[in-house]
Symmetry: C2
Subunit: 279 residues, 2 copies
């Protein structure tokens, strides 16, 4: 697949909102896309299908690994300043209830209203992986769509679409595409560099991903150095200044010790966090 | 466990030379120890025992995960400039033959000649994970010990020790200690900070490890800032200048494209690589 848009490297992220590491990878790539000069393409897919097809099992099936994972997720979320919280009933919310209806809704958004793909995905993560709320019922999905700014009538229409073969097949196809790239879990990040697809599993190979992107011949030296020359706040982030005031208290919660997190992380946090919720 | 040596944070790395990610973690921590102001303690343990006790399985048991792991190891090794190569017969060398005799020998070194623990471990990794050589036969182990500078008579004596209950029990105890900290694979890195043991699995949580170390109350601001103020070459690395010339061609092989790797990685590479081998 060729890079879209001249000097930008195409990077795809295959994700499922049931996966906390997918959320971390999603947010971090949303932050880096301006600096790395990448065309970031969101590819909603179904983790259950990937696990079944590859014979993989959730890491928590080995009890000690599960215990560690809970600590790791908390530390990673704090480090990357994503407001992630483990659901109280992890097995019930994540393993049993799953994400099929949510991922079908996101797929319908992707097919017809792609400009809402990023915020709808984020609001569903905010429900299951931050506020411990349901994402399987129609009203839960509609609430997330509303938070993302999708007009109510349109959200209803997309919800109806989720039972059509078109949406079901599209989700299957995207999942199969991830499998074709070698995915066995999520997130699966695929960087298209010099005619080759490079798969990175998880949210923890950012240094390798950055190195591969830097080797892309379609990246002009200008694009790369412009991407690296960011200011605070980044000019590409519309509305940063206007939204700053209303986010002050959210920031306070995320950074209770008042410790410094570095300038880059500070602005990415402010750029990417979902809007503050009402009283 | 209290921090050893005043202002230095105690960091333990539990490892087995059969594990390639252990080698990466080991080399990277060897490089960072001067900068992070840590007391790095090597804890040779037995990966087979950890997998059995926790019910964990090698990642390669899921075929797609195994395929990915091979690519990931190569990319990580190149990025961190560790001369790691996948053995041709991976299953035979790594899974079937294993590392029990090698880890017993390393344990004997740890018990009686701890100053050789780091180089002997590295030379065994160089055999199995760089030159695709055996590490199970007595002559293989003695050859690694010789490369590490251990006198021949002493190496023979340590080899004889490997069949004693003292050495066998010590390896079991270290493995049990890793399990007690929550390990389910290797490397298992344990940072002792403010009276708490923080487990990090694998070689890819360096950012989190660095953050935890920086929060250690036993780290004086002076020690931390001195650690970060490194020069090229680092003054703590004895013999760097003398050994530089003989390493030139090794560097050429490791960095075939002649790409820049950054100053910090350059010097750490030169500090940590095993000595160039004969003609």
């Amino acid at each position: 697949m060729a890079a879209a848009g001249g000097s930008k490297t195409l990077v795809e992220i295959f994700y499922d909102v049931v996966s906390p590491y997918s959320w971390l990878g999603f947010e971090v790539l949303c932050r880096y896309r301006h600096n790395w000069s990448i065309e970031l393409r969101f590819r909603p897919a179904f983790l259950g299908g990937i696990m079944k097809e590859t014979g993989n099992q959730p890491p928590a099936m080995v009890p000690k690994r599960g215990e560690y994972m809970m600590k790791d997720i908390k530390r990673m979320a704090k480090y990357y300043q994503v407001p992630l919280q483990i659901p109280k009933d992890f097995v019930g919310s994540v393993i049993r209830k799953g994400s099929l209806s949510a991922m079908r809704f996101i797929t319908a958004v992707d097919m017809t209203q792609p400009q809402f793909l990023e915020p709808v995905s984020r609001e569903l993560w905010m429900r299951i992986w931050s506020r411990d709320e349901d994402i399987t019922q129609p009203e839960s999905i509609l609430a997330a769509a509303g938070e993302a700014g999708l007009p109510s009538a349109l959200a209803q229409k997309l919800l109806a679409m989720t039972s059509t073969p078109e949406v079901k097949n599209r989700l299957k196809e995207t999942t199969e595409e991830a499998l074709k790239y070698g995915a066995f879990g999520m997130p699966a990040v695929v960087a298209h560099v010099n005619g080759e697809a490079h798969l990175f599993f998880g949210s923890d190979r950012l240094e390798l991903l950055g190195k591969v992107i830097a080797q892309d011949a379609t990246q002009t030296p200008q694009a790369w150095s412009e991407g690296q020359r960011f200011t605070f706040p980044h000019p590409a982030t519309a509305g940063y200044r206007e939204r700053k005031a209303e986010r002050e208290d959210t920031e306070g919660k995320l950074n209770p010790q008042g410790q410094g997190w570095g300038t880059y992380q500070e602005w990415t946090l402010k750029c990417c966090l979902p809007k503050k919720r009402g009283p």
